[in-house]
């Protein structure tokens, strides 16, 4: 346990160094990155050794301010979630070495490193907390440090707005958590996590729903996801990588932890999680498809993947309430596996998007194109990440989805509602998979392939060395996990090992299947290589010509004729029309000799639109009427405080 605290201290020290040394820009970056990475390394080794070794003596508590107890405890679930926390940040930090290279913003970079390391520490503390006080402290620390990271480019107005939206959702979510914990406290008067299971069954569902909303706003469940597509484009890319790859999983951790602690017999909980997962997954990918801003698209894709993870958790929970052990085991293990895989490929994709943004100064797909030739490393690694996130073998995304499918198929032995839910889960996963393929072929095909649509894309160059290196490592990891999944799956299996209802489940039969998957992936690659060699032989000594693309008889093609992202997605988005309202702005043709005409299509997020129209609009009108309370007279404010205190003391 002490090792873990040492590692957290070292990570934090790295951040403080960033703050102190900011005048020596390069030195500061080197020292901050190195120190924090060493800290993460220590933590990572500790986590792995505990996950596979003896997990004893992992329970400590400290007295704080003579009032509260700060308690920490580690079980297999916390250990599993510690893996991405210690694994991804060092890579993101390394990436930031070439990403943050504007020397004029050196002080800001220092602050960025400080909050970055604070975020890592806070996330580590969240997963090892063992009572409500500790948990909420760590949770708030995490929300606040990530808020400051999002506000990196605060002089841009839209970024400030994005930061505020994130802040509202973070704090609104925290409020739900306070409500949930307060409800628990009102029943048993204890802050300890162990005592949560003792509250009456009737209250458990309400506690869970409150906590689900609170954690869900962090994870990005529909309709609490709207901060993601705003905050991610605003944040620097290594921050988006860590927030999307690791931080939103803390929401998943919270949902799972509160589920375990409540130990509720109600089948409703699993059903809520599963249905939310399906809606989140499908709508997330549909919105992703409709977006033309790469980072916004990736943010929606994170929403989709949170949906997949929730489907896994939901399958597991339904399995528990139906007492189908295989369904429960593979549902949970699949969700864990997907948490791990997603942390890698989503970070990779955000870093790729960051690399594009860094070089071309745009993240709009309609202004890119042809980057595969100009940025070969970014292009190839982004391609690998895209295949992985679409869940296609032989890359890593498939493994997690396979486990969830396997769990869901095992759930088909149930009857009535759980049976229907299992069917719907399988169909949803298939639809999500298909649409994710469409979504990522769009990004790869339009941003990286074809002809550059603007000067900016045409003049792009490959990014700095550390960025390429980090992305290559992650791309290789995606392939390795897909081809040799056994060790990584046993990681997920170890992660669910401490869950009581899964005790004694035998995975030997399944490990055979995993070996077969691994062999099949190998077979696929072998055939692929043979076919490639065969193709090379067919072409040897032959004339290879080159010319323009066949324009179907049109002889003067321009790059603007290429298919656009909007039209690529139009048919699919239209299919989901009630959920994706869109508006065409068309100037029309007016005179006999028409002048310039414009056509613009805007798609809206139904959640965002309804918040704007139904919630924020009325609230603003109401608040405008109460504006007289805020008059700026300090004496009267003091008066308010006194009245408030008197009311609280005398009447409550």
């Amino acid at each position: 346990m002490d090792t873990l605290f040492v590692s957290i201290a070292v990570i934090f020290a790295g951040g403080v160094v960033g703050l102190l040394l900011y005048r020596q820009f390069t030195l500061m970056k080197l020292v901050a990155i190195a120190t924090s990475s060493v800290g993460c390394g220590i933590g990572f080794i500790f986590t792995l050794s505990k996950l596979f070794g003896q997990a004893s003596g992992l329970d400590v508590s400290y007295n704080w301010l003579h009032l509260f107890t700060l308690a920490f405890k580690i079980d297999s679930v916390s250990l599993f979630f510690l893996i991405p926390i210690f694994l991804i940040p060092p890579l993101a930090l390394l990436y930031s070495f070439h990403y943050l290279e504007n020397k004029e913003k050196q002080a800001r970079a220092g602050v960025n490193y400080f909050f970055f390391s604070m975020l890592i520490c806070a996330m580590a503390l969240v997963v090892i907390s063992a009572n409500m006080i500790t948990f909420l402290l760590a949770w708030e620390l995490m929300s606040l440090s990530s808020f400051f990271l999002v506000m990196y480019d605060y002089e841009v107005k839209s970024n400030r707005k994005a930061g505020y939206v994130y802040f509202i959702f973070a704090q609104g979510g925290a409020m739900m958590l306070f409500a949930a914990f307060a409800l628990i406290y009102s029943y048993n008067g204890s802050f300890a996590f162990e005592s949560i299971a003792a509250i009456p069954d009737s209250a458990k569902l309400l506690v869970f729903v409150l906590a689900f909303l609170g954690f869900g706003s962090k994870a990005g469940i529909f309709p609490l996801h709207i901060w993601l597509p705003k905050a991610h484009p605003a944040a620097p890319s290594h921050v988006s990588a860590i927030m999307s790859g690791v931080m939103i999983k803390m929401g998943i951790y919270g949902i799972f932890r509160i589920y375990l602690l409540l130990d509720s017999p109600s089948p409703m909980i699993g059903q809520i999680v599963l249905i939310t997962g399906m809606i989140t997954g499908i709508l997330g990918v549909v919105y992703a498809l409709a977006k033309q801003d790469i980072k916004e698209l990736l943010a929606y894709s994170s929403v989709e993947n949170i949906g997949i993870i929730l489907i896994g958790l939901g399958i597991g929970m339904v399995g528990v309430s139906q007492q189908i052990q295989a369904m429960a085991f593979f549902g949970f293990a699949g969700a864990f596996m997907h948490v791990f895989n997603h942390s890698i490929f989503k970070s990779l994709l955000f870093m790729g998007a960051g690399s594009v943004l860094h070089q071309t100064k745009t993240k709009n797909i309609e202004e890119l194109g042809g980057l595969m030739k100009r940025m070969p490393v970014t292009g190839r690694t982004f391609l690998a990440g895209s295949v992985a996130i679409s869940g296609l073998p032989p890359f890593s995304g498939f493994i997690g989805e396979f486990l969830i499918y396997y769990g869901a198929f095992n759930g088909l032995t149930a009857t009535k509602l759980p049976y229907i839910l299992a069917i719907l889960a399988i169909i949803s996963l298939a639809v999500i998979g298909g649409l994710a393929t469409a979504c990522f072929t769009k990004v790869v095909g339009l941003a990286f392939l074809g002809e550059p649509r603007t000067e900016k894309a045409a003049n792009a160059k490959e990014s700095g060395f550390t960025m390429g290196a980090v992305m290559s490592i992650m791309a290789v990891a995606c392939l390795v996990i897909g081809v040799l999944p056994q060790p990584f799956i046993s990681l997920a299996f170890q992660g669910v090992a401490d869950i009581p209802v899964l005790a004694g489940f035998n995975t030997d039969a399944f490990m055979v299947i995993i070996r077969q998957i691994s062999c099949t992936a190998g077979l696929f690659i072998a055939i692929f290589i043979v076919v490639s060699i065969f193709r090379k032989m067919l072409y040897s000594g032959k004339e290879i010509g080159s010319g323009g693309t066949w324009g179907c008889g049109f002889t003067q093609p321009t790059v603007r004729m290429q298919y656009t992202g909007t039209s690529y997605a139009a048919e699919m988005v239209d299919f989901f029309r009630p959920f994706v309202p869109f508006k065409d702005i068309y100037s029309g043709i007016k005179k006999i000799f028409p002048g310039t005409t414009t056509w613009d299509t805007k798609t809206f997020d139904i959640a965002d639109k309804n918040y704007q129209e139904r919630l924020i609009g009325p609230m603003m009108t109401l608040m405008a009427k109460l504006r007289w309370i805020q008059h700026g007279n300090i004496q009267l404010y003091i008066g308010y405080i006194i009245v408030a205190i008197i009311v609280l003391l005398l009447f409550l």
Partner: protein, 305 residues
Amino acid sequence: MESILSFCFAVLIAPLLPAVIQKVKAYFAGKQGPPLLINYYTMIKLFKKGSVYSTSTSFVFKLGPVVGFTTSIMMLLFFPMAEIAPLFSFHGDVLMLFYLMGLGRFFTIIAALDTASPFEGMGAAREAFFSTLAEMTVFGILIIFFKLTGSLSFQEFFSGDHVISLMGEYGALLLLVVAGLYVVMLTENSRVPVDDPATHLELTMIHEVMILDHSGPDLALIELGAYFKLLFYSGFLARLIDPFHSANVWINSLLFYSVVAFIYITIGVVESITARYKMDLVPKFILTPFIFVFFVTILTMGVMQ
């Protein structure tokens, strides 16, 4: 040994069968049609040629045909043609194989987008959309088969105690599944009424327009991959409807491939008597069998092997 022979035979006969479709269509049109071996001649011709590559394309364009071909080969390696055990099989292979087909599609699509042609982009978007819809039906069918046999592998579907067959137990349920699978076959293999490979306007094509720029051996690989894929789907259907069973491997294979040929003939008939649907009707057409299949999954609630 049998498995290897069966696989080799499937690979060899795959280009022959589509010629049957052409013959049937020619018959309906009152023409003589191309010779039955036409596809072999085309393959040889294409393999002998070189290629012209668009200056817009990158390595992805060349990767597309290879990945697509490899995934089609994988399907044949795992599918038990004519009651002969496939070369490879494991519990759960159907999931992996349908996802591998998705991989083939992924690379076909990005290879099309690599050419910077507006027509190929249009075809790519339709391919991505329609195959997603077809996938829903496919997974519905897998759910039904899992309920009926308790397994997730092609080999296990058609062997053991609970063989899936129209003639077997719960055969009535399979009627709708067969209809669903037939539509999936038409969709995934770009046949009329979803797509018309013989149309004259690039704007109205789906699959064919995506491979406009491929030539020579690359095009041959794509075409071969398409033949394998069609053979896989019709083999799948044939295993469902095949009423004959014989202890002798040779007779069995002969009967099986006659059923397969019969399915190809029906495709030819469908192509002769229907026109391609308007593009906005196609999604509705593809979704219809999903309703059939979903209905059957509800009916199988009580069944569990």
